[in-house]
């Protein structure tokens, strides 16, 4: 048998555990095949569990294993790094539990914090540098670790309570839409819930970077006085939170 055929057969065995696939490798009676099958699946379950510990706890072990098995059956891993296997698990959770937005958002939070932890490094802009900026033409750049998502549930409260080992609240919808913001400050992943207007402001800056464009957007939303004041307040907060890594 050519090596290519063998590797194709092995892939088929790991992903389907079928007798046909086992036959290409000498037959399913060989105990070694079961070892590789078990290693493959255990490795992937462990990887999902490592990225989503709070999701696992929130769902309960049986539901988590059900979702993990379905994910493994439908999404063979393809990346060189096992860490990437967690990337599409949120979609699997949406498919299996379509009416649990708290679960979807909790999964987003854990994945965002996990990926922010190893995202590219960038030095934050120190507050002292702001004095010399020409704000008319200033372009803002966020840290490459920044990720945002709409918040419709109290998933961040659930995450924080679980993280602190406290009794977590029941899942519930927010009275008004907000945003989840995840990024890395120094070497520590951070999570914050922001207002809808701040989420929109971040999206605006991510799209074109212009500070004057941000001011225009906020003035349009909030009026002249409040819009300009909000732009200044957000900028100061973003700089203080090490979200801004470039002003050009």
């Amino acid at each position: 048998m050519k090596l290519e055929e063998l590797q194709n057969g092995f892939r088929s065995w790991l992903t389907t555990a079928s007798d046909d696939a086992a036959a290409t490798l000498g037959g399913a009676h060989q105990p070694g095949l079961a070892v590789y099958q078990n290693n493959y699946r255990a490795q992937l379950v462990n990887s999902l569990g490592a990225t989503y510990p709070q999701v696992r706890s929130w769902m309960g072990e049986d539901n988590f294993m059900h979702a993990a098995v379905k994910h493994i059956d439908n999404h063979p891993p393809h990346s060189w790094t096992l860490d990437a296997y967690a990337d599409e698990f949120g979609e699997t959770l949406r498919d299996i539990f379509p009416r649990n937005p708290d679960l979807h958002e909790l999964a987003w939070i854990e994945h965002a914090l996990s990926t922010a932890f190893v995202a590219g490094d960038a030095q934050p802009v120190p507050a002292a540098d702001l004095a010399s900026v020409d704000w008319e033409s200033a372009q803002l750049r966020f840290t490459p670790t920044l990720q945002t998502a709409p918040a419709t549930t109290n998933a961040s409260d659930i995450w924080w309570a679980m993280q602190e080992g406290e009794q977590h609240p029941e899942g519930s919808m927010l009275e008004e839409p907000k945003g989840h913001v995840a990024w890395r400050r120094g070497y520590v992943s951070c999570l914050r819930t922001v207002s809808q207007i701040e989420l929109d402001a971040i999206t605006q800056v991510q799209a074109n970077g212009s500070f004057s464009g941000l001011c225009d957007f906020l003035v349009e939303q909030l009026g002249e006085s409040e819009g300009v004041a909000t732009a200044g307040g957000l900028l100061a907060d973003w700089v203080g939170s090490e979200l801004i890594t470039g002003i050009e």
């Binding site: 050519k2 090596l3 063998l6 194709n8 992903t15 105990p31 070694g32 790094t81 190893v118 070497y187």
Partner: protein
């Protein structure tokens, strides 16, 4: 391209996160530490920062698990580029991976899957090693894996395959003594014959680890202390491979650092005894 093999017959430990603080805040009595390459082939953040700090204090060996040197469809260029960047930054004393495959046509099993020891597989592996070594600009070491399956169409033994692979490509060998023990038990070959078949001058590192008894097979779990049978085999290996660095490789059920250092002391005593 001829590339010299690393030469550092010292004693080291696999660095695991449970012991980061020990290694960063105290002078741990090791000659080197080995880390899993892929854990640090990330864009940034704390893992890379810690590895840079570790590198300031100890020589570092990079040990990979995802190169997939036996892939019939070749190596992934993006993987090699990431590894090369890490190698250039860390300047490791050793860069190693496994004689196995994990990836084929976009599928990555994340396991060290066995190769058939055929002439065709040897050609493919040697070609892939040439690509890897030329990309990195240095010789690599490749480790004998534990295996739970063998193939009827083999043209040679595992040790013959390793020796020929090393001869053709100039790569070094990382002899995992526990893996020899496990595979010898699982496949019924003579572990001593395996050691005798290894080209002495090309074995530049040895791993010591533990295993567990599975359902009719020994499983390479790395979650136990080194058992007596592996120590016995290491005793012979230490005499046979004088250019090899030795390391305790523990990946699960991680004990306090003092326990691993005690195991490393046993390895040192074996080395001293065999040298005498």
């Amino acid at each position: 391209m001829s590339k010299s093999l690393p030469s550092m017959a010292g004693y080291g430990l696999g660095l695991r996160k449970e012991h980061y603080r020990d290694f960063l805040e105290t002078d741990v009595p090791v000659d080197f530490v080995e880390v899993i390459s892929e854990n640090f082939m990330v864009a940034g953040g704390q893992p890379r920062h810690i590895l840079r700090q570790i590198r300031e204090r100890y020589p570092v060996a990079l040990h990979g698990v995802s190169m997939s040197i036996g892939s019939a469809d070749g190596l992934r260029i993006d993987y090699l580029a990431r590894l090369k960047a890490l190698v250039e930054e860390i300047q490791p004393v050793i860069v190693s991976d496994h004689l196995s495959w994990s990836r084929f046509q976009g599928f990555n099993s994340h396991d060290l899957l066995p190769l058939p020891y055929t002439e065709e597989a040897l050609d493919i592996v040697c070609n892939n090693i040439d690509v890897a070594q030329n990309t990195l600009g240095r010789a690599m070491l490749f480790e004998n894996p534990s295996s739970y399956l063998s193939f009827e169409n083999a043209d040679m033994t595992e040790w013959e395959f390793l020796a020929e692979m090393s001869k053709r490509t100039g790569c070094g060998l990382l002899l995992d003594v526990n893996n020899v023990f496990v595979s010898a038990s699982n496949h019924g070959f003579d572990a001593q014959a395996f050691l005798r078949g290894m080209p002495s001058e090309r074995v530049r590192q040895m791993h010591l680890a533990g295993h567990t008894q599975g359902n009719g097979l020994l499983i390479d779990t790395h979650d136990q202390s080194v058992p007596d049978g592996v120590w016995d085999l290491y005793s012979e290996a230490a005499a046979r491979f004088p250019y090899a660095a030795t390391m305790i490789e523990r990946d699960d059920n991680i004990p306090p650092l003092s326990e691993l250092l005690a195991e490393l002391d046993i390895a040192r005593q074996h080395g001293i005894k065999e040298a005498a």
